[in-house]
């Protein structure tokens, strides 16, 4: 692994993105718009907005980064640039870290906007530090990047890649505790939700929402999400083959 090659890759990914201002606008503004909508959908019950809003701050970056990364790396695979890069002195880790770094930066920007809007303008009532919200959002974004990278190996076209979104993300949204607390689900579903990383992202957000300090539960949740991201990034690296049939 070479830091300069990683940075060059991240800069290249960001440069590609800069030529596509519409995508940037969608990535940054859509989550804000959703939060805004939610705030006034639950106008009469601010408590519900607190709960769902905090959870969504964890879910948005995951979804956005999943979509963006799966399409971007799929393009890299189908355009032949991946084969070219792997025939060059570029480490697989350089490529993956480059992508994670570039989209991680976008995710930070997105999370700052969304968290700032929710906490200061929409009156999301967070007892803990907004910085911790941001930390979880960033870890979620990394997880989304990792998942996107991984599934792009199994998609033959952009059409298929988009279909992976409902397949990989929706079950996690249903089971993560957004709609109903996880301990009130059917025991089998609760067991499944216990092994899905998004559950920990949402739990972590809720810890920040309710506790003034960093709790052990929060630390555990953050570590689980980070661990999953690293694990899936490793799996993603394994799908990059220098030699193909």
């Amino acid at each position: 692994m070479n830091a300069n090659r990683t940075l060059a890759t991240a800069a290249r990914v960001l440069r590609q993105l800069r030529h596509d201002p519409r995508s940037i606008a969608l990535m940054l503004l859509v989550p804000c718009l959703m939060l805004f909508l939610l705030r006034y959908v639950f106008d009469g019950s601010p408590g519900t907005f607190d709960n769902i809003g905090a959870s969504l701050l964890g879910i948005f970056p995951l979804i956005t980064m999943f979509l963006v990364t799966s399409i971007a790396t799929l393009r890299e695979r189908t355009s032949g640039t991946l084969e070219r890069l792997l025939a060059m002195p570029l480490g697989k880790a350089d490529l993956i870290a480059g992508y994670a770094l570039a989209f991680g930066l976008v995710a930070v920007l997105q999370s700052v906007l969304a968290t700032g809007l929710a906490v200061w303008l929409l009156g999301l009532d967070v007892i803990g530090s907004p910085w911790l919200l941001l930390l979880v959002a960033l870890l979620d974004a990394l997880l989304g990047t990792a998942l996107g990278l991984f599934v792009s190996a199994f998609a033959a076209s952009e059409f298929q890649a988009v279909q992976f979104m409902p397949a990989v993300i929706f079950p996690q949204i249903l089971l993560c505790g957004l709609f109903t607390p996880r301990d009130r689900m059917a025991p089998a579903l609760e067991a499944i939700s216990n092994v899905l990383p998004m559950s920990y992202a949402v739990d972590g957000m809720n810890e920040v929402l309710r506790h003034p300090d960093m709790t052990t539960a929060f630390v555990r949740d953050a570590l689980v999400v980070a661990g999953c991201a690293v694990l899936v990034l490793g799996l993603g690296a394994a799908t990059l083959r220098r030699r193909t049939a």
Partner: protein, 280 residues
Amino acid sequence: MMNYAAAGDSADTADSGDPAQSTAAIIAQSLTTVRGDRQVLKALDFTVPTGQVTGLLGPSGCGKTTLMRAIVGTQAKVTGTLQVLGRPAGDPALRSRIGYVTQAPSVYDDLTVRQNLDYFAAVLLPGRAHRHDRRTAVDRAIEDVDLADHADALAGRLSGGQRSRVSLAVALLGTPELLVLDEPTVGLDPVLRRDLWNLFHRIAADRGTTLLISSHVMDEAERCHRLLLMREGEILAEDTPDDLRRRNDTATVEEAFLHLVDAANERAARAAVEEQEHRP
């Protein structure tokens, strides 16, 4: 009349007075590749001499791309011996010494020509210390493929021929010792094709680069120092264009190739008949 069976007729190679054997950039021995249960390359033996332009010619689907991918080390399931620049093909140390251009241009459509080259240059020569070298290499590559006027245009906005030249420019960065070009002139107009072939020869002469260029257009064969003629995963002939024409008593390489193909087909048919006769 003399017909080559498979390649590796070393006596002939020696006759032509070619230094191919002594200073070979690529040496293949019983090189075989399988895809599914089909043999794409069937026990090839050949050499590619250093510092020359070698043409890899044959009809579409005869295994040219597979052979090139084996040489640059991106092809899976390769058996036999394949030495490239003195190392086994696919060796990590070769990655910065070989430039490879795939048939379809592999560049980022949403980056400008210069941004594309800047990135690939940073992969080849990373670090702040090489900033000046990178800039020189990028400028030279853009000049080489004659795209200075389009350096700041998005690759996706360029014409097909221009995009394939961007792809070629990427391979020229870092002055590789071996350039492997898969049909670099396909779909280009005659003027551009001539210019590119002049560039290939200039690169071989000035930079001592070895070039392996595939094509299915036989008139391009005349522009090569040496030729590898392929058909159905086998090498029909390995020779200079002059010797190929003389040996087969033909006016063009194309006729020589057709002659060799007919002879190979005849041999195959005869072998099939003999096999039938020997069956009880």
